[in-house]
Assembly symmetry: C2
Homo-oligomer: 258 residues x 2
Amino acid sequence: MTTLHSPNQNHLLAALPTADFERLAPHLELVPLLLGETLYEPGGQLRHAYFPTTAIVSMLYIIESGLSAEIAGVGNEGMLGIALFMGGDTTPSSAVVQTAGHGYRLPGKLLKEEFNRGGLMQRMLLRYTQALVTQMCQTAACNRHHSIEQQLSRWLLLTLDRLPSNELVMTQDLIASALGVRREGITEAAGNLQRAGLISYRRGHISVLKRPGLEAHACECYAVVRKELGRLLSDVQYRQDTAPTRVPAPQLRQAARP
Amino acid sequence: MTTLHSPNQNHLLAALPTADFERLAPHLELVPLLLGETLYEPGGQLRHAYFPTTAIVSMLYIIESGLSAEIAGVGNEGMLGIALFMGGDTTPSSAVVQTAGHGYRLPGKLLKEEFNRGGLMQRMLLRYTQALVTQMCQTAACNRHHSIEQQLSRWLLLTLDRLPSNELVMTQDLIASALGVRREGITEAAGNLQRAGLISYRRGHISVLKRPGLEAHACECYAVVRKELGRLLSDVQYRQDTAPTRVPAPQLRQAARP
DNA sequence: CCCGCTATGTGTGTTTGCGTACAGACGCGC
DNA sequence: GCGCGTCTGTACGCAAACACACATAGCGGG
């Protein structure tokens, strides 16, 4: 019998040394992450760290006027709750579930303790934070200089990389608030991509038809983030025992362009 | 006799426990940081960490087309070279001196060693990184949603907070590349601020005349960053011996608005 | 003191994305 | 299988910022 869910579906958890993992395992709680659910409120205390397995969570920054901007996305390659070990227990950004699925959560106190042991877990978490920072930088520059259509392409590709299928369940409204643009802007950009035969759209479901074409439409930002994520997280050693339930290798695929 | 320069002018160095500081001190090298000088090239190896004292350094992200976006600014409240202890020895962003002055540099290897001791230095560096991340998030959102004039106001205030005087030496061209906009955009925005009597401009020199007015012109982003920086770095304990040469207290002033 | 470099001011036309408004269309639940 | 709520497509006018082009002015070096 195969378990449907396993902490090892998350790359960070799967890369923990056996001793560390076994110490944490009893405290890992499987939680369903519902579409649109808010994991962190801006300014609130962080009670848990989340390790997504099949879900994707978006780190959003919301300004006074209610407008938002996505800072970074987190899938099974990462975790949420960086601030727990960075100090200061709160984040200024909110975390919203972008693709429904599951994840494991760990009481914040335990994550902090584990981090402070200073072992491999610490190294991995810091390395991951660095990858996250890279993503944030690229997003910031992309926001500034690239068109909505390019940004949409980038976003679709990054999201797709975190999913097993080539279809994503997602309304244009949600995408718009992730990219920090109007819903109509997404309608138009998505329309263009559809007319170009790259994607197909149907009320809340987007299928990517021609991935290479989409990559050509996207700005360089996609390739850069992909490459950096690969570089920083590539040398991770997975535990032996993860083999059975392990996801089909680091799920982020190779970028097509050099 | 008073020394003109001292590592204690940098808040992070000034907050190190005596034992830690004395271990590092012999390796701290005072370097002049020239206007426009590039400390880090994107993708290059990080040889040194920099602790600005009187200089201000801008972390810039430059995209393929040559356009840029400022990620964050670093003055004597912080340091450059985060990636050294986060893992992966390189940064995707470049670091450019925005206000000439001085700083101390430390061989990267030593910073890493010190970080890995896991003491107060580690806690401080992580805490500072968290503050930096906050700044990056706010900048990203600000890029997306606020006008050039608001962004310019924010930027002037943040820069001013890191300087002893109310004048900054800075061409519109440099500001433009920091904010990732056209030079003409800055000319226009600065013209408006000048006509409003908030600043005065003269070929490479900007004086802030009415700080409160400028704060009113700026978006919320300024106040948010200020507050968060204060919160995260406020509980720092300075060493006794820093008293003589110490800068006039945490130089970041209190935000005017609540 | 003058020259030349560089910084700054200004103008025109164009593009992108925003705000608003509304019509149709899909799909879920009853 | 019907209805309603939500999602999607489209259209208009507008504002912000862009690209490009050029005129002027300050400052430092010779």
